[in-house]
């Protein structure tokens, strides 16, 4: 039985990674799961300099999901390179570094720094608000997506995954823009923008007013966008959004995702990632599927 896949030219022992921001750089969850069992670990978004993030409360629970407005707190690329990469390298797993920025220059700076580091793939979070385009994120404008993708590709030494925002009218246009810009893969979905109001205090549940919705509540939107994207681009798709069980992961795989990421589910079950890998194996065994690749995109 084969679970191994090739993703954007990188060999993975299985198609399961973590969703950026939900797993830190793996240190805390390494007490619950053997990181060496994962296809890859995707790290929390890192910027060129440390970011303090948003004021608290930064998260709140919602029905079947949660909102977060962490605000991309991160220790900056220097400390990340010094501490987090060596930690992850101890494990037999691939490293996908998620990168954030407020300007194209900030992204490119981080990507350049990582060029000389021992990491396998870069995932570019373009749901960050573009400081030059009031409010809207890079990922909400196909033209900007194409442009920033090619700027990043020019600087990158590792394959580049563009991580798409679902807060768009037409995900296909954005995915095609990333492909046109030279992306080696796309990942989706990032969080859906949402809000919760605390009616007893008559204020926003999050200090930041809005936050990103994640968890099983969003899965149908994610599966739809992964399917539409996989139908429309030739580059591989890393699917995520609400994956809690092996069945959820298989939905994304059958919809066309070559890899899947587990996010919010880690908070509900710290061993979710390995439980999902074992569940995929069990499904394949029961259904006599020899190779996971038979399942990728099998539903059209």
């Amino acid at each position: 039985m084969n679970l191994a896949i090739d993703f954007a030219g990188v060999a993975m022992k299985n198609p399961v990674t973590t969703a950026s921001g939900t797993f830190g750089s793996g240190a805390e969850y390494s007490e619950f799961v053997d990181l060496g069992e994962l296809g890859a670990v995707t790290t929390k978004g890192v910027a060129n300099v440390p970011w303090p993030g948003n004021p608290t409360p930064r998260i709140c629970e919602t029905y079947g999901g949660m909102l977060n407005a962490i605000g991309l707190q991160n220790p900056g690329i220097d400390l990340f390179i010094e501490r987090d990469i060596p930690f992850l390298r101890k494990y037999d797993t691939r490293i996908i570094v998620n990168v954030c920025g407020r300007t194209p220059e900030e992204y490119v700076e981080v990507v350049r720094r990582l060029g000389t580091e021992d990491v396998d793939l870069l995932e570019i979070n373009i749901s960050c608000p573009n400081v030059e385009a009031g409010g809207l994120a890079f990922g909400q404008d196909p033209k900007l997506v194409e442009k920033i993708t090619s700027q990043i590709k020019d600087a990158a030494k590792q394959p580049v995954i563009m991580k798409l925002s679902p807060n768009v009218t037409d995900i296909v246009q954005v995915a095609q823009a990333a492909e046109a810009g030279g992306a080696d893969a796309v990942s989706l979905i990032n969080t859906l923008t949402g809000m919760k109001i605390d009616i007893s205090r008559r204020t926003f549940a999050l200090a930041n007013k809005t936050g990103g919705l994640s968890g099983p509540a969003v899965k149908p939107v994610a599966v739809r966008m992964v399917y539409q994207t996989a139908q429309a681009v030739k580059i591989p798709v890393l699917g995520m959004g609400g994956i809690c069980t092996a069945e959820d992961a298989l939905e994304f795989i059958m919809a066309g995702a070559s890899m899947v990421a587990v996010g919010t589910a880690n908070f509900h079950n710290p061993s979710a990632t390995v439980d999902i890998i074992r569940g995929i194996e069990a499904f394949m065994r029961e259904n006599q599927v020899e190779d996971i690749r038979e399942l990728i995109g099998c539903v059209r």
Partner: protein, 259 residues
């Protein structure tokens, strides 16, 4: 070592101790280490059975029975999760992860333990285990003095009530002043305004104070950066002066945290 796990705790007993406040003893048939390693000030993450509620509910450890491998928690029903827990009866199970966070670091000398409202339960195991001269100051809203008598075997217990119905009228600091209590170290858990008062008092007195903080949590283990509080110094983990309540706390040196 990947040996931690979410596991099923068994409800040994549950009872109502005050209006809307429940006390529950849990045992851990699958994991002997939980009660064995827990220390006062740490917490457990409890998970709901209802799938519409995914995030853990952090609840402090109130008592530890290492011999029987049990932990007691005392919690107030404030929402759907704690309501769900309040319906559990002996023999039911509830999923938990823990013990989590750093507990109180016990110092030599005379100590004052301060608990306010639902911050009272976490001080009980500390009161039981702390050596030296101990005063306990408990702040209540009114004359419903839940848990008070459980502290009495271990320490001199002073009470403040907001409505003045019992003990000192006012807050815990008013009680400390009225009683003229003195100490070498303070340990406290309670609402933010109380913790601010404790911090100021300790600063003025020039004595160390350890306070237990609260913040909304998602992972409960230090990975998601949801539960931060601002630290005076740029700490090694965050590099931006944001300490994680769940991992770096919940107990902090009062003077190191911005309240």
């Amino acid at each position: 070592m990947a040996d931690k796990k979410k596991c099923a705790a068994e409800v040994v007993s549950q009872k109502l101790v005050s209006e809307g406040i429940y006390s529950m003893w849990l045992s851990f048939p699958e994991r002997q280490d939980i009660a064995a390693t827990a220390v006062p000030g740490q917490f457990l993450s409890l998970y709901c059975k209802d799938g519409s509620r995914l995030l853990p509910r952090p609840i402090s450890i109130c008592e530890i029975d290492r011999e029987e491998g049990r932990i007691r928690i005392v919690y107030r029903v404030v929402g759907r999760g704690t309501e769900e827990f309040s319906k559990l009866t002996a023999g039911d199970t509830v999923a938990v992860v823990g013990p989590l966070g750093n507990g109180f670091t016990v110092h030599e000398g005379r100590s004052i333990l301060i608990g306010g409202g639902i911050g009272i339960p976490p001080m009980l195991e500390l009161a039981k285990s702390i050596p030296g001269e101990v005063s306990v100051v408990l702040g209540y809203r009114d004359s419903d003095l839940f848990l008070k008598e459980e502290f009495e075997p271990y320490a001199a217990v002073y009470v403040s009530t907001e409505d003045g119905s019992v003990g000192t009228k006012g807050n815990v600091i008013d009680a400390i002043l009225e009683q003229g209590l003195d100490a070498d170290v303070i340990y406290a858990c309670g609402p933010l305004p109380m913790l601010r008062g404790v911090k100021d008092y300790a600063a003025k007195k020039g004595i160390p104070a350890q306070i237990s903080m609260e913040e909304k949590m998602a992972c409960g283990i230090g990975a998601c950066l949801a539960c931060v509080c601002q630290s005076k110094e740029r700490d090694a983990h965050s590099n931006v002066g944001n300490k994680r309540v769940c991992k770096d706390g919940p107990v902090f040196d009062a003077q190191e945290i911005e309240l």
